[in-house]
């Protein structure tokens, strides 16, 4: 029996060994099959071998230098592989504590440590300089991942680790100086910056430092726009200490964990530095769009942004519309006093307003600003009249906002209701009206809403809109001439309409009823007795102009 067992055991052994060999072969075969050339395959094998040797014993530390050499080559595959291998090697060394000089070390040992450190620095340089700045996105991405990995390893290995000394700040600096729309920065933002609080904290610091140093103009511009895009990718602001809990590094010491206060201060500094570096119009808009919920909460003293906002508000156009929300934030939260606010607000009601894509945002705020019942009736009347005038030439979506808003205004300010119902009782005046008719007393070009005489005018425009071509809009406009029994319309329901929405609601549903068909078949559509009729001619024109 024992003999049998032995045979069986040996059998198993025998079986295992060939299996392993086969697997290896299979692996190598696979590699051969992979698109890389045979030469690449050799390099890979070589790198793996070198790495294995380093891990085997310290005698082969010189291989590190070889790998470094390899990584600096400009060949396609080898540098990446070498870099990955080196990263693994250094992580092991860091974890094993081989790179720390301790007291009881001999001379030789110390030399080795110093040498290793030197190589490590060299490796980092390679990653930062040649990898990150090359044109190959894959390589850049590898460099980013490796560097972040090394940062983590370092933090694990060393007690009281300070990110400032590590490769992170250099990495961020490098990222900031990369050209605009670089995918790596987005990757960094997505994977690390948004996720880990310590990385974020350190990034704030680095941004501030970098923009504080002397840079030439183009670099400064680049860094500023890049930092802006980084900062804008943050969409949540920590509310309390409990929100700061995701860390990339694994250090036990408390010193590297920022308090909320410090954290916010750093963020504020970073934002200020970015803003000071100069912004173009688009960037300004981008900041203003997200201002009240992404940026202002970071600031310990939002008052510092007052000038920025008032300047933006004075720019005019869409920028002003956007600045309005930030300004409102400051006015309501921080007691900002903005002189002649309504004058400015009135000036925002221009031709483009109802066509603007920020329309709903503006009306939301306008509704807030005009919600007070203590506003002078003349001012409210000016707003009503001006908006009605704009609605007359606006798209249906704009009309749909203006009409309920006007209704609410009339309801809130009964003094303005004369605008829709005014009976002339003075006989002399009546006679004059009969004879001469009347002109609109409203002055569209007047800038001061108190002086426009709108309260003397009437909203003929809204009446005209009652015969709007779109049935829903026309029906809605009719609420102005019906009895005001409803308390108010919820403006929010009317804000987000568009041509597309109007069309989709109709065209996407099935026909429920048979559509009407004109009972009379016209004898002519395009043609006339001789040749074409006007419509036909126009169509002919179009066809020919093509």
């Amino acid at each position: 029996m024992p003999a049998l067992k032995a045979v069986a055991a040996s059998g198993v052994k025998r079986k295992r060994d060939p299996a392993k060999a086969e697997r290896r072969e299979a692996k190598s075969k696979k590699r051969q099959k992979s698109p890389s050339s045979e030469h690449g395959d050799d390099v890979q094998a070589e790198i793996l071998q070198l790495e294995a040797q380093i891990l085997e014993s310290r005698r082969h530390y010189n291989n590190i230098a070889t790998l470094l050499q390899l990584s600096k080559k400009s060949e396609d595959d080898a540098p990446v592989l070498a870099a990955v291998a080196l990263c693994r090697v250094f992580s092991r060394l860091l974890a094993a504590g081989d790179m720390v000089r301790s007291k009881g070390m001999g001379e030789a040992e110390a030399t080795v440590v110093a040498w290793l450190k030197e190589r490590y620095r060299e490796f980092l340089d390679t990653l930062l300089q040649s990898f990150l700045r090359c044109d190959n996105p894959a390589k850049q991405s590898v460099a980013l991942t490796l560097l972040m990995r090394l940062v983590k390893e370092e933090s694990k290995a060393t007690k009281d680790y300070n990110l400032k000394n590590g490769p992170l700040s250099r990495l961020i600096e490098a990222l900031l100086l990369l050209p605009a729309h670089d995918p790596n920065r987005e990757e960094f933002a997505e994977k690390y910056f948004v996720q880990f609080d310590d990385v974020r904290f350190h990034t704030f610091k680095t941004i501030k430092n970098l923009l504080g140093t002397d840079l030439n103009d183009s670099e400064r511009q680049l860094a500023a726009s890049n930092s802006l895009s980084l900062l804008l990718s943050l969409d949540t602001v920590p509310q309390s200490k409990d929100d700061i809990k995701h860390y990339h590094t694994e250090s036990q010491s408390k010193s590297s964990r920022p308090t909320l206060q410090v954290y916010k201060v750093q963020a504020q500094e970073a934002w200020l530095a970015t803003m000071r570096a100069g912004l173009d119009k688009e960037q300004r808009k981008a900041i203003l769009t997200t201002f009240s919920y992404q940026i202002a909460p970071w600031f310990q003293q939002p008052e510092m942004l007052m000038d920025f906002l008032t300047d933006s508000y004075d720019v005019g156009g869409a920028t002003s519309l956007l600045a309005l929300s930030g300004l409102y934030y400051l006015i309501s939260e921080k007691n900002l006093d903005y002189p002649s606010f309504y004058l400015k607000l009135y000036s925002l009601l221009d031709e483009g307003l109802l066509h603007s894509k920020h329309r709903s945002r503006f009306f939301r705020l306008l509704d807030t600003f005009m919600s007070s019942t203590h506003l002078p009736a003349a001012l409210v009347a000016s707003f009503i009249k001006r908006l009605s005038r704009l609605a007359l030439h606006g798209p249906p979506a704009g009309v749909v906002i203006v009409v309920p808003w006007v209704y609410n205004m009339f309801k809130r300010h009964p003094a303005c209701t004369f605008m829709m119902h005014r009976e002339v009782r003075d006989p002399a005046l009546k006679e004059k009206l009969e004879k001469e008719g009347m002109d609109d007393p409203f002055d569209m070009s007047e800038l001061d809403p108190m002086e426009t005489n709108a309260i003397e005018s009437s909203v003929w425009e809204l009446e005209a809109l009652q015969s709007h071509y779109h049935p829903n809009v026309a029906t809605l406009a009719k609420i102005i001439s019906e009895q005001f029994t409803k308390r108010s319309y919820n403006l929010e329901d009317f804000l987000d309409h568009s041509y597309t929405a109007l069309l989709d609601t109709e065209l996407d549903r099935d026909l429920k009823k048979d559509p009407e068909v004109e009972f009379e078949i016209p004898k002519r559509i395009f043609t006339a007795e001789e040749g074409l009729n006007p419509i036909g001619q126009l169509l002919q024109q179009v066809i020919e102009a093509r």
Binding site: V400, G437, H468, D493, P515, K523, I525, L532, I535, A545
Partner: protein, 836 residues
Amino acid sequence: MPPSQLKRLKASLRDQGITGPQKSKKEKKSQNKNASHHTQKASALASIRESFNPFEFKHLSRPQKFEYATTNAKPKVLGRPGVTKSAGEETRRKTLLPEMNRKNKTGGILDRRIGENDPTMSLEDRMMARFEREQQRKRGGNVFDLEDGDEEVELTHGGQTLRFDDEIGEEDYDAASVSGSDHEGEDGFLKKKRRRDDGEEGDAEVENEEQPERKKSKAEVMKEVIAKSKLHKYERQQAKEDDEELREELDKDLNDVLAALRGHINKKPEPEKVREVAQNDFGMNADRAALLATMSQEGKDKEYDRRVRELFNDERSKPTERTKTAEEKAKEEADRLKELEEKRQKRMRGEPISDDEEPSKKQQDEDDDENMSDINDDAAEFGLAAPPAPGQSRPVGVDDEDDFILEDDLVATDSEADISDEESESGAEVDDTMAMDDDDADFLKDVVEQPKAQPKAVKGVLTIGADTSSSRLAYTYPCPRSHEELLEVFKTVDLKDTSTVVQRIRALYHAGLKEDNKHKLADFACALLDHVSYLSNQTPAAPLAVIESVIRHIHSISRSYPVQIATQFRKHLKAFQLSNQPTPGDLALLTAIGSIYPTSDHFHQVVTPAVTLMARWMGLTTPSSANDIATGAFVGALCLQYQTLSKRYIPEFIRYTSLCLRSPHATKPLLSAHTRNILTAADLWSGSPAFIEIFTPLLAPLKSAHQTSTTQNLLARVNNAKLTRRPQALHHHRPLPIPSRIPKFEESFDPTKHYDADRERSDATKLQKEYKRERKGAMRELRKDANFIAREKLREKKEKDAAYEAKYKRLVAEIQGEEGYEKNVYEREKRKRKGN
């Protein structure tokens, strides 16, 4: 104020005759002798004593101050505590006591008689319940069998079953003959009466009478009935078979008859036999005779009535409609047009059409529901629901629900066209086929030319003569069901002949000819629609006259297939919405929509999206080339054409036109097209209250484009509008009533009632009160039960004790007696001895 206690006592004593004027000794004596008088007196006294017991009745705590007569006056005696107490005691003794006695005991005899232990049942109830149970048990298990029950419940008299059936006569007769009772006279009369009714049957019964006199059981009677009905059935079958035979014989002779008709007679038919058979049924046909024979009198009458009604309702019995004179026709036509116009007006105003108020009401309901479900969304009320939830709301006042009711001669009936051989009918049918209308005469002449000339073409017999204009064309084509197929068909056809070919296909595949043709024609129309777009998109484009004729064909077909064609149109619109680049094809389709559908409707499933699309294009694009400007001119003109009747305002038109006027690409003819549009628009919207504001923005661009005459014209119109402008007065409404805040007073307020408007709350309080009352009552009952039990126990104990005491005493007495006896004996003995 009631009299005092003493007075009342005296009064009642006097009433009872206990006190009274003094009686003579004689009277007294005679009274005293009578023992019953004594007892009477005693009982009277007892009742008086009882009635004067202040605890026997519960009175009001304080007597009422005033006497008043109201309907719901409170009774003077509120309750009789003594009576209730004793009643309670009694019930307890009946229910609780046995329970108490049975407590902790097993076994014993249970009285299971129905209702025996139920004090709520009266003796009669008990008896009734027992009787029911007995009956049920007799019936044997099946409680739900109603039929059985009828049979089983037998009424008896003197232990004999009462009978009301046919055999009552004989029964009674038997009884009479046997007993010779005095009921005989009456029974005899009954029997006579029955005899008169039954006629023959009576005879049979007379025969039966001769059989041994024996009471027939129910089963036997039933058997007889069954046998009788079987016999009838058999007879009927027999008759039927005879008829069959006869018919077969006749059929056999049919050949001979036919031969005779053809002229060579082989054999004579046998009329005698037929007559013989017919004689039996008085010359009726066999079926009818059989019918009459089998049916009961009532059935016959019913059948007769039914047939008469049928005849009455028969179409043929109506007089045909008189042919109308020319004036009448013209008047009718005018009326029809007027009605159609009225309907159009209504739709334009967005009112629901009175013909179908129901759908609109339903819609209202739907709207209501909707409002209930999402009250918060104000926008949804106006059909401006957010796009993610499409189709849930209809715009208010939009009357797309209404049905445009066309008269028969207008509607292209896709129902079965009558394919008869009569020439006169086929003419009318052609009308139907082509959806012809009298005022479209000339259109139809060229559209329906062929079928009208050769009416047989419609009937599928293709004998169409060669037409001079299109002699090269084939007469039959496959019906194209998609645009690809259509292109295949039209590949060989000259553009000019498109109309003729379409016409022929329509005639060939008329819906009345085949079931399937409906779908074919609908698909064909959709393909034609695609073809319109295709034709205009081609380079060089097809002549507009051809497109026009195709559009008119589509118009004609769309009367029969409105849904399919509208859906196809909407598909094209959707495509245009996605591209937002109007091709000539799109423009041609938009024009087609304008001519096919009523553009003045407040809402229309095809027109509204089409206008919105055009407006969107004009609102969102800027003219960047001459082509754009030309397209703009066309779209603008088309939009204005859409609004010819309804005169609706299109803001985007103003925007795009002014942009075009300013555009550097604008050429002179394009500019003039635009200015023409502006003047048309000014005409259309001259009634608009905001005319000045609408057209003022156009003045500057017009001036800069050097269109002086138009500028002058427009300026004059604007100034004119200023003259007619008045301050706005939109709210000539009846003033809203101020809501009343006066508290509501209750007439005839009753403080004991609750006037809670909130029904739920009042119900809840009611329930709570009831609960409290019940709880109190239950507690009181339990307390009384406990008292009763304690009392009973005490009584038992006392009894026991008393028994024990008695026994003890008896024993002691016995012993003492014995002892005394013994003592006596002893004494005696002692004395004896002493004495001795």
